[in-house]
Subunit: 196 residues, 2 copies
DNA sequence: TTTCATAAAAGAACGTCATTCGTTATAGCA
DNA sequence: TGCTATAACGAATGACGTTCTTTTATGAAA
């Protein structure tokens, strides 16, 4: 019929936004800068995405999933249950919640200002919790996915994930060093690996 | 010398801001609305506070401290260590992180957008973690404040606190019901109370 | 009481941003 | 070669935190 959306423009928007967010933060990444980086007018961004937040979720969701799946593979390579669980917890809290790109930090900014109109659905969180359960079941002989203690572990781990991401943000703002997170990781591991 | 700041105006600003935040959220509470509620011009707000965020911290800090101290007293009234720790965890996660006023929810919005210029200092978090250690020591015979496992528990509990507050915000936005948090609470209690 | 310096109070203006509106230009189809 | 839907654009719009400029009230000194 008429003119058609250009996939390369859509990609340019995502690429530009991703590099802006990684360089600064969600708040400092303006639609104007995203558009400039993509070589288009700011108003044209809205032909491809309905809001700035949606652009960000379009970037974050596959990134997060890829990180978790990579972690799953890394865990599978380890031999003992203890090492596996340690890697799972450490990977989530250090590599993903406190990632170099700052994507998760940006997630906190995004979620904090979510409004009903943005129609945010916490599918990603549910997916992550289920994935954690699955990884633990593969790591520990005899662990059952329905075990409420296991589900509690997964939920607690994701709540801690959010907490760490939140803390990372404000600590960076306060120029404060990362607190000793290893004790917390040990405690979480201890929940599943009986050892005292 | 000259005209002097009116303490009642300062209080009017705080009262107006507190009720606005409780009714809506941090983001929806504009300086203009705060000023209107206080019966002054928006610009005059800046004679008493240097930023909107500072107004909020002025409200939140004493509120949070009072909540924690009240919780401490409630815990002291209970008899068994198990009940005490249960109350501590439940009080923090349900009554304070998921409070009716929405103050803690607003904290997440504030922290998420903290910029270095706002000079946020995480004193409150450190105070809370130390307080948790103290409450646990009073609850459990022989618990030592220096015990790294105890400090890890306190840190984990506060990270979970942030996570819950964060979740509350976005779940409210998604009109989703509160997930079953009791399993998580049980798991946290289990860290200190050896039982299953 | 009058004067005067100081600072609170008010109002207008600024700068920033996400988003929308009105218009133009262009890709696809008859 | 037109015709049409719509991508693309530039110029608004509307919010909002904050600052600038001006006015006004206060309290101390004369």
């Amino acid at each position: 019929m008429a003119r058609v959306k250009n996939e390369s423009v859509r990609q340019a928007i995502l690429t530009s936004a991703a590099s802006q967010i990684a360089m600064t933060s969600y708040m400092d990444t303006t639609v104007a800068k995203i558009a400039k980086g993509a070589g288009i007018a700011p108003s044209n961004v809205y032909v491809y995405f309905e809001s700035k937040l949606q652009i960000y979720f379009t970037i974050y969701t596959p990134w997060f999933e890829a990180q978790v799946l990579a972690l799953e593979r890394a865990v599978a390579r380890l031999k003992t249950p203890e090492r596996k669980i340690q890697r799972l917890v450490g990977g989530l809290l250090n590599d993903i919640a406190d990632d170099k790109t700052g994507y998760t930090s940006a997630l906190m900014e995004g979620l904090a200002i979510v409004m009903p109109k943005d129609k945010y659905k916490p599918d990603l969180l549910h997916w992550a919790e289920n994935k954690i359960v699955q990884i633990v079941c593969n790591a520990i002989e005899g662990a059952k996915p329905e075990d409420p203690r296991l589900r509690a572990f997964a939920h607690l781990l994701m709540l801690t994930f959010d907490g760490v991401a939140m803390r990372v943000k404000s600590q960076r703002a306060a120029n404060e060093s990362t607190a000793n997170r290893s004790d917390v990781e040990e405690a979480l591991v201890g929940m599943l690996i009986g050892g005292r």
